[in-house]
């Protein structure tokens, strides 16, 4: 009996805390002018309204198009480049400092330059997302592929495995768990890239929803949009974690 109570305590505290949070939110909404902050209930109503008139749905669609294409392209390039660099040593040594620098620099600052060259289309936003998302996958894949047990490579080579077969049967299966860690990190970075592209290039999607409603002091809609992005990001990163854990189990099992 005491054990079940003890076990329930955590979730109960969490629920109370969420309820208190919503309460404070609601209370602040009554104290602060409507142009600056609105209560919890007003935000939920605004969210319902945005869903009802289809604005949220179309914004979500636009954002997810940019995010999805960008993540897919970034992941493909990062994965392939990571494998390539692990096999071609002079290229890896040559590019290493530039990759580190590209990862450490704030990628948002590149967005205006992408805007100048590629304009306002979806393509330009996808490029911004790719620039954000490519690095974690590239770096993790490279690290994984470099840590392949040399004995495995030697055995494969002594059986006259060709380079493509070596990649397919030894390096890629060994590296995938590492890549998936990078993939999860890339999801988070691509979301930032998506919002940055929608703010800085032509506004569209969820970023546009935020900017437009901020300019009109429709604070309820702003908060509803941020709430949507929070839920979306939590879900996508959670998904990334599930995929990562699936592959990590594979690594542990091997």
């Amino acid at each position: 009996m005491t054990i079940t109570l003890d076990r329930l305590r955590g979730p109960l505290v969490a629920l109370t805390s969420l309820a208190v949070g919503a309460g404070i939110w609601e209370w602040l909404g009554t104290r602060i002018p409507k142009t600056e902050f609105v209560g919890f209930w007003a935000t939920v109503k605004a969210l319902g309204h945005l869903i009802g008139n289809g604005q949220l749905g179309s914004a979500l669609g636009e954002s997810m198009e940019v995010f999805g294409i960008g993540l897919a392209i970034g992941a493909a390039i990062g994965f392939f480049l990571g494998l390539l660099l692990s096999r071609v040593e002079w290229l890896r040594i040559g590019l290493e400092p530039y990759i580190t620098a590209a990862y450490a620099m704030p990628s948002v600052a590149l967005a205006p330059f992408v805007l100048a060259v590629f304009g306002f289309e979806v393509k330009a936003k996808v490029i911004v997302v790719v620039v954000f998302g490519i690095w974690p996958i590239l770096i993790n894949t490279l690290e994984g592929a470099r840590s392949v047990n040399p004995e495995l490579l030697e055995v494969a080579r002594s059986y006259r495995s060709s380079e493509p077969k070596l990649w397919l049967h030894v390096i890629v299966p060994y590296t995938l768990p590492y890549t998936m860690t990078g993939f999860r990190q890339s999801i988070a970075r691509c979301l930032v890239g998506m919002i940055a592209a929608e703010f800085i290039l032509s506004s569209s999607g969820l970023g546009d929803l935020i900017i437009r409603n901020t300019e009109r002091f429709q604070t309820a809609n702003v908060l509803a949009s941020i709430l949507t992005i929070t839920l979306l990001a939590t879900a996508l990163i959670g998904l990334g974690r599930v995929v990562e854990n699936y592959f990590a189990r594979w690594r542990a099992g091997a």
């Binding site: 109370t16 040594i93 580190t100 205006p112 100048a116 935020i210 941020i226």
Partner: protein, 277 residues
Amino acid sequence: MTATTVAARLPRTFALTPRARRVCLQVATGIVLLALWEGLVTWLAPFYVTRPSGVVRHAWEVLSNRPTALTQLSGTFWYDVQTTVIAVLEGLAIGVTCGVFVGLAMGRLRDVEWALKYYVGAFFALPTIAMVPLMTLWFGYSSTARLVIVIIGAFLPVALNVYEGVRKLPVTYLEVARTYHARWWNVWFGIALPASLPYLLAGIRLAAGRALVAAVVAEYLLAIRGLGFLIKADMQSFSENQAMIALIALALIGVALNTLVNVATARLLPWYRREGR
């Protein structure tokens, strides 16, 4: 094949050390990348798009703070560097300090853990920059808005990482502490904090990245003086080469922050090779 035979035939004094060969290779790659950039832009892009030769041509003009006819605002490059760096460092100091306290409390106290972990997790997942427009409603188009968004960006990764580090504290440490009747502050700051230092440093690395991005986006969208705004002003007056110098400065700041964390890791944790996350 031929390269190695030539190298073997050279007198010993000409043979390069492995380190020097690395550096040569990296410099050569850099030159190839710059040449590619120059060539592609000259071949494909409109005249105003930035290219290495243009950046070199305008470097002195920007770095010497000289205002130009086109861009009155870019006359004070070093002022913009300074205000961005100070905002980022200020925000990092506040954000990291708060993050350490919240992380420790979450790691040590179960009720605090359960009360806060969904909030911290959700705000960590949310791209911090999505809140920049909201900050304008609260703080106006001011540098306070930038500071607040930088603090938020810095706080979350640190809180989450310290929390994770404290939770993985070896039980034996705590048992020894209890045997010696350690007080709670001894356990928090004498045991839990030092033991989670690798996590803290990994968190600070993430925090530095987020803080810089937050500052740049805030400057860009809110038109607050700083490198982000400088890029915007230069881009809008087709002075892309000048804007590229600001971008390079941002990249250098990012690399410098990263290096700082690396040096701290090497100094404080010589046994620790790389972060586990």
